[in-house]
């Protein structure tokens, strides 16, 4: 059932105006019970036409109430006379007008009239509630987006935290190993401020690079670690991240380590370092 199409069809207006056929009316009433959207639309149409009609509110002549009440309740008495069982009740109703008065006094009296003001007020409430709904919906949307952003940020942070923790644990394990020798590489004339540490485990033949402080790598360039073995530089691996501890190539008999700036991809052992040497330190 496409409620939007049904609402657009104009049948609800016909129903409220009283010009729908009996079949259509029955259908509208049935669908209004089933679909809240149709009920709502129906009420809004009814409300606007009634508000429109209420602008013609006119006080009826004073005599009319008595005349109408008399016609209703005299007929009522006549009808009831043929029905002996309820005579007493209807007589009671008619002969006890004081009860009517006292009821009216008990029920709080003021002006609850379904006036045009009340109708206008209900339109205000409708408008306010619609705008409040839109506002809350937007807020809710915003919050949801923020929550999602925070969640993904949180995940990234947690991952980073784990990586850091793992790398620190690794570094601590290396440092606590008595076989490991710490070699300080010191800055050469091209970069006097540069620094780095090499952790060298001769037994396990493992080389780690840590605490790098080097000038920013220019585009197309890359730092390369060299181990000096038998008086010759041997490629010890490219430095491709600023990670906490970098595992480099294995050596057992290096006497010194050096870092040079090479073209991306580095140089080979056969050729040796082609670029400037930034750092150097002896074992």
């Amino acid at each position: 059932m496409n409620t939007k199409e049904y609402i657009e069809s104009g049948i609800l207006e016909s129903y409220v105006l009283g010009v729908a056929t009996a079949g259509e009316s029955a259908e509208v009433e049935r669908l209004a019970l089933e679909y809240p959207a149709i009920r709502q639309e129906l009420d809004a149409i009814t409300n606007s036409l009634e508000t429109y009609a209420l602008q013609y509110e006119t006080e009826p002549p004073a005599f009319l109430k008595n005349k109408i009440m008399e016609s209703l309740f005299n007929e009522h008495t006549i009808v009831d006379n043929s029905n002996a069982g309820s005579i007493n009740q209807s007589v009671r109703e008619i002969t006890e007008p004081r009860e009517v008065v006292s009821l009216n006094q008990n029920i709080q009296s003021s002006a609850p009239q379904r006036s045009i003001f009340k109708m206008a007020a209900s339109w205000v409430l409708l408008a306010l509630s619609i705008s409040a709904n839109i506002w809350f919906f937007k807020n809710w949307k915003n919050s949801e987006e923020k929550v999602l952003a925070l969640e993904s940020q949180n995940q990234i942070l947690a991952k980073e935290g784990q990586t850091l923790k793992a790398s620190y644990q690794e570094e601590v394990a290396i440092l606590q190993n008595p076989d490991v020798k710490i070699i300080q590489l010191s800055g050469q004339p091209v970069a006097p401020q540069a620094k780095a540490l090499v952790y060298f485990d001769k037994i396990k033949q493992e080389v780690y690079l840590s605490s790098l402080t080097l000038p920013e790598v220019p585009k197309g360039k890359q730092y390369q670690l060299w181990a000096i073995v038998d008086g010759k530089p041997v490629d010890a691996g490219m430095i491709d991240s600023k990670g906490n501890v970098l595992k480099m190539k294995s050596f057992s008999n290096a006497v010194a380590f050096a870092i040079s700036l090479e073209d991306t991809g580095g140089s080979t052992t056969e050729v040796g370092p082609k670029g400037a040497v930034y750092l150097m330190g002896a074992v």
Partner: protein, 197 residues
């Protein structure tokens, strides 16, 4: 009988009416008679006939109140429809047609428009102009269908407008009314806020 408005829950009022309790009808009259009478008078355009139609309407409400069902809408909607239909039946009845409805519809509408300015007493807040806020062709649709009891097909026939156009105009008229009342409500609200803040 004094005429004071009484605050009563609609459900309670319906129970009183359905048990044909005099208090129920007294409250119904006090609370709604000016709304009903206004619409009836607008339709029949004679105080004498309006009083008569008003009485007929109350008799119909009395007789048919058991058929009223909350799920179909509010009590006010229901009694307003009873009154409106009774009034429309009256102007459409033969005798009335002979005496009153030989004028053409356009002059009828003009007559009604002139009449309403004296009936309507909410001038202070400017709602009097509701009619003026509607486009003439929309106003005409509501007048013909709501206050004259024309069907859409009859309007199409009498004015030589395609039925589809009539339906579109009716829909547009009601949309316009709704928009106007929302705007009016907001104006009223800001006027109230202005006074308080």
């Amino acid at each position: 009988m004094s005429k004071r408005k009484t605050i009563i829950a609609e459900d309670a009022l319906v129970v009183l009416l359905q048990s044909k309790d005099q208090r129920g009808f007294s409250i119904l009259y006090d609370n709604y008679s000016s709304a009903l009478y206004g619409v009836i008078l607008k339709i029949v355009r004679s105080e004498e006939i309006a009083a008569d139609v008003m009485q007929d309407s109350f008799v119909k409400i009395w007789k048919n109140i058991d058929a009223y069902n909350r799920s179909k809408g509010t009590l006010f909607t229901w009694i307003l429809n009873v009154a409106r239909n009774t009034a429309i039946d009256r102007i459409r009845s033969q005798e009335f047609q002979n005496s009153q409805r030989n004028q053409d519809i356009d002059s009828n509408i003009n007559l009604i428009d002139n009449q309403e300015s004296s009936q309507f007493d909410v001038d202070a807040i400017g709602l009097k102009k509701v009619v003026e806020h509607l486009r003439p062709e929309h106003q005409q649709m509501i007048e013909l269908l709501y206050f004259k009891g024309y069907t859409q097909a009859e309007v199409a026939d009498e004015f030589g407008i395609p039925l589809g156009t009539v339906k579109t105009r009716v829909k547009a008229a009601i949309v316009q009314l709704r928009q106007y009342f929302v705007q009016f409500g907001l104006v009223l609200l800001s006027a109230i806020l202005d006074k308080w803040i």
